[in-house]
Chain length 356, copies 2
Amino acid sequence: MYDTQILSRIAEVAEKKTSIPAYPESVQRVLSAVQQSSAYWDIVSQAEEPVPLTAEILNLLRQEGLIQVEEEMFFLTGEGVAFCKENHIRFSGVRACPFCEGRALDIQPYSDTLEAFEEIVKQRPPALQAYDQGFVTPRTTVARVAHMDFRGDLRGKALLILGDDDLVSVAAGISSLPSHICLIEVDSRLTSFVRSVSREYHLKIEVVEQDLRQPLPSFLLGRFDTFEMDPVESRKGFELFLQRGLGGLKGPRKAGYFGLTRLESSLDKWWDFQQVLLKNRAVITDIYPGFNQYALWDYHSQTRAARLAPVPQMPKNIWYTSYWFRIETLKGFQPTNVPFTEPKEVLYADEESSTT
Amino acid sequence: MYDTQILSRIAEVAEKKTSIPAYPESVQRVLSAVQQSSAYWDIVSQAEEPVPLTAEILNLLRQEGLIQVEEEMFFLTGEGVAFCKENHIRFSGVRACPFCEGRALDIQPYSDTLEAFEEIVKQRPPALQAYDQGFVTPRTTVARVAHMDFRGDLRGKALLILGDDDLVSVAAGISSLPSHICLIEVDSRLTSFVRSVSREYHLKIEVVEQDLRQPLPSFLLGRFDTFEMDPVESRKGFELFLQRGLGGLKGPRKAGYFGLTRLESSLDKWWDFQQVLLKNRAVITDIYPGFNQYALWDYHSQTRAARLAPVPQMPKNIWYTSYWFRIETLKGFQPTNVPFTEPKEVLYADEESSTT
């Protein structure tokens, strides 16, 4: 009855237009998302495809008459409803655990840390587009620290943080559990803020103001049990961040934590990231979808994501989330420590990115 | 004050004795576990190292005078307490979310399925050592089905199950959400049980009695959206199960689900597993530690794990857990479908296995 080739055709056109790998399943994901929500940014969030791809697929589905826009909201047309039914395109009946918000942890032991942290971050500097900033909610930051503790990588351990608009260094400092905390950060607003908080609350955070494109200073090489970062998601950017994190570790069986999104990176790019991890003798031990929830950020309207949006809506709810990874190093692990010499643009943006 | 080389020395000896990769961190993990629990099987569970390695490390720590055994329970000696303090070896203050048991899902929508499933499994055949069986708790089985739904891989989808002492086929059948369910299983007790349950409850499960060492029958090749399995954890065994699962999938961007333990497999072996996944153009999207909880099984006393135990205790609590993986296939994905021609022993056991 219906032309099921339509999914392949839309995927093909969308891939050509965006240069992002697209599949019939990408189109299905967008159709599922429209069944769950009508607001653009919620659809983007639920589809879990790179933002430019979801935007393009929505445009194409509209041209094909499967969805329509009314007062800036997206709905299936009658034809769209029939098409989804015919092709078994439905949405999930399960949601994340409401108690832990899908993070699988009981962060109750960290409730005092969370309370103190929420007070401190009222004074934080706003997120800056120039550094691809955009911070997670306070609860997310504290959950990251709790997760490191859960996995035995926090108490009595030396913790290296690479870039920290999320202020993990501060939350870890409040917990007073690590033996040592070191933050490397390029943004002087953040280094000043963390230094002043560290002084005021006696958190003993070592702050090094440095661009990660430079090699790690030798006094930080091989000194840490655990690193944490929220890397930029170009292939080169991820590899650079990872090299710096691994360079800080004492050796094998030490842990690294980082976030990766589906909204800036296709699963094809994730595959490349995972190759880089294995190549560096790191094994993936944990991946929690939706662990990191990002607060709405001030420069949203200046992003490519906003420019690509088919409707001029601003996000009303948290829409940008990322997966939370834990890795461990193994025998044979040998990090490098060389400068990044390519142009800065290569680091921050690629065809899949849209919020940098 | 204390000889910190002791951790390296114990790791070295333990590795030599067991042929399993061991690290100073492996020894630390066992010392952490002894601080949390005194019962042998709980220590094994918390240490998250291959069972034969934990057993050996406990023996060596005892010889070194850092732990002692009293009435079959393990404790740090005074020297052990001082050593752990000196070397910052502590245990976590965080536990898994009690609401979802660390599975990150709200399985409330599946409570009717769980209730019906618990009734049905009262008649299930007991786990058989010959097939490396040992089933998860009913709540775990239903959580697997809920997780597939959460990730959009169940409703209206064709589901292939490879080996099923966990009876995922039955739970998925009760949910009545998949468009098709097919089970491949070698054990005629299980195929009979699933067939009779399927008939009685109108679950429409297709049951194929076949050894996975044989290629997939052509009528199952490329037919499914999703596969599920609990593979044996030898390198060859994992690769075989994976080939059969991938062979059943329709193409790229289809999903696979499986469990992997830390108790039968070192992280070094995990690295090999992850290489095999990437080589097959599959990307890892989810890894939930501790998702799968295994019910105690009847043949425990006949296992290598039981023979290696330094004390003759039987497990009292659930101690055997595994991580739950989700993968997705990508462009370039090309499964093979060839028979497994090596001896059967290669499939089930290696130096790290102990419960097969």
